[in-house]
């Protein structure tokens, strides 16, 4: 079809129309810049949440103070541990689920409906559900372990096991997301390719390892992007179960910031924590996003 108008055919919509259609949504969204910037200023003051009276400008005082607070470093460590565990567990498990659901069979559509269920349950509710199941004395989880001959675990009640317990709840909730994305990746691989390998005598395992896994690159990145960006700012599951305890074992930066504001009324200091976390989130998630973008661009170019 011959180009009708230069602008319309090369770039799609004309620029004016484009901006006009986009404006209302963008304006509403960028309203959030105002609280964001005012929060940035707050992080440079000693503002209290509840107390009236004036606030003082303290420059980078809050940040300097944070650097000298051991709990801050604990919380930073917890945030990174949580995120690393989430990715290290959910990627392989999600891949296992995806490979399982990629095998044609009669029950597949049922399994796929089942798969999305946890994703649609409020994280707080999931936290409370698991908290009841993880009760050390009466919880059903320890009962099930006892059937397998495994000793009862203290789960959320012990500093040594609290972190992995919270990650386990996160894993139950969000591994399905990893599985959905990776399954879509597996199904985008052309049947001719795997069929040809099968005819050449490749075993199912070889087909997975040599053909399917290498082609999953962009999808693995997408899973990492989604899960890392959420895990870095995790708060709801932790708030519903341990509130950062026991002995700060699950106190992440986001939880610490919330407590600093609402428990200790130190809004200025809370905002300082939030912006450290914010920088961390953008640095890590931004890198993953850039990597994914590059892979996608390469795929479109092909």
């Amino acid at each position: 079809m011959p180009p009708r108008r230069q602008d319309a055919s090369e770039n799609g919509l004309a620029r004016g129309t484009f901006l006009l259609l986009l404006a209302p949504a963008l304006i509403l969204l960028f309203l959030s810049l105002y609280p964001f910037l005012s929060g940035l200023y707050t992080s440079l003051t000693d503002q209290k949440l509840y107390a009236a009276g004036g606030t003082r400008f303290v420059g980078f005082g809050n940040f300097v103070r944070l650097a000298g607070t051991p709990l801050f470093w604990t919380a930073l460590g917890n945030t990174l541990t949580y995120t690393a565990l989430v990715v290290a567990i959910q990627l392989p498990l999600g891949l296992a689920f995806a490979l399982l659901l990629d095998i044609p069979g009669r029950l597949q559509s049922f399994f796929r409906s089942v798969l999305v269920l946890p994703l649609l349950i409020p994280p707080v509710v999931a936290g409370l559900m698991w908290k009841t199941m993880m009760q050390p004395q009466q919880g059903v989880l320890n009962y099930l372990l006892s059937l397998l001959g495994i000793d009862p675990q203290p789960w959320l009640a012990n500093p040594a096991t609290a972190m992995i317990s919270v990650v386990l709840i996160d894993t139950w909730l969000f591994t399905p997301l990893a599985a959905i994305i990776l399954l879509a990746g597996l199904q985008s691989i052309s049947v001719e390719l795997t069929e040809a390998a099968r005819v050449d005598g490749a075993s199912p395992w070889q087909i997975v390892r040599r053909i399917k896994l290498p082609l999953l690159g962009p999808y693995v990145l997408l899973v990492a992007l989604f899960r890392v960006s959420d895990a870095l700012k995790s708060l709801e599951i932790i708030y519903a179960t341990t509130r950062g305890g026991p002995l700060n074992a699950t106190r992440t930066l986001h939880v610490m910031a919330y407590e600093e504001a609402y428990r200790w009324s130190n809004l200025g200091r809370a905002m300082a924590i939030v912006f450290v976390l914010w920088a961390l989130c953008y640095a890590i998630s931004g890198t993953l996003l850039a990597l994914w973008q590059r892979q996608e661009a390469r795929r479109y170019a092909r």
Partner: protein
């Protein structure tokens, strides 16, 4: 050789069956267990070893939905019902506002092929990266000053942070799938963009719009932190209500289980009825 082969195949099948079983157990057990718990009497709940067989009762549901005897006598609305109502108003309102703004925005993003358009799309995506408190803690100060704290309008406004980027990204992915020839034909006939959008694109993209609305509603419904910071007694959403009632009555597991089931209902119904659209929406349209 054949005997060996069939033995291996059998072992493969057994392994596969075991895999499916483990998968189904992992995903479903917590939901089934809490569902069973919601149907148990207090005695059955605290029994150890846990009871898998028991006489089911609806008393937990009756209490959370219609109130205890004292509340019923006083003619009060039970807390959970009020929280549910708040959540319906907030999430429903937020989705309606979002979809009106997101349809034109997503169409614009889907139909302009420039670097700028792509960058704006990634800006929408990057809203997911920000820790919520970076916006809503300062917003708390602003809301208490302007009187938006603990109001439906204030809650609907702040929920745009969830529902709007989500709707735009999902819709843009669906709009891209619509072939442009029809629109081209309409344009030649002299229809303007708004007309094309309303009478051609929207009707074709109805499943996409449904998908965006369902996902946006569920994510807004499931959110805790906005309510925790910006809602008080008048607009308290269901997620916060459940957490709060649990903190005060640690031992009322049956009520917790029933409330959990009720609050997770929108998500679970959607999961069963709209599985395909949801799968695509959950990945923000990045995966079809």
């Amino acid at each position: 050789m054949p005997a060996d082969w069939s033995l291996r195949a059998l072992r493969g099948h057994a392994l596969l069956a075991l895999g499916y079983l483990a998968f189904a157990f992992f995903v479903l057990f917590p939901i089934v267990w809490i569902f069973l718990m919601s149907l148990k009497s207090f005695g059955d709940i605290i029994a150890y070893p846990p009871r898998f067989l028991f006489t089911p009762t609806l008393e937990n549901y009756v209490e959370v939905l219609f109130g205890g005897e004292a509340e019923r006598a006083a003619g009060e609305i039970p807390d959970l019902l009020r929280f549910l109502m708040n959540s319906v108003i907030i999430s429903g309102g937020a989705v309606l506002v979002s979809i009106v703004l997101a349809v034109p925005a997503a169409y614009a993003l889907a139909r302009r092929r420039t670097g700028g358009a792509r960058n704006i799309q990634f800006t929408f995506l990057s809203f997911r990266f920000a820790p919520e408190l970076s916006i809503i803690l300062p917003l708390y100060v602003i809301y208490t000053r302007t009187g938006l704290y603990d109001t439906y309008a204030g809650m609907i406004l702040v929920h745009q942070l969830i529902t709007l980027p989500l709707s735009v990204l999902i819709l843009a992915s669906f709009f891209r799938d619509i072939p442009q020839e029809i629109e081209e034909a309409a344009r030649v006939d002299g229809a303007n963009v708004l007309r094309i959008l309303v009478s051609i694109v929207v009707p074709i993209a109805r499943p996409g719009i449904a998908s965006a609305m369902i996902i946006a509603f569920i994510f807004s419904w499931n959110n805790l932190i906005f309510g925790l910071v910006l809602a008080g007694g008048a607009t308290r959403p269901v997620t916060m209500g459940i957490l709060q009632s649990m903190t005060f009555d640690q031992i009322k597991w049956g009520l917790m289980a029933a409330s959990a089931m009720v609050s997770a209902l929108p998500g679970m119904v959607a999961a069963i009825l709209f599985q395909r659209q949801i799968t695509r929406g959950l990945t923000l349209g990045a995966v079809k």
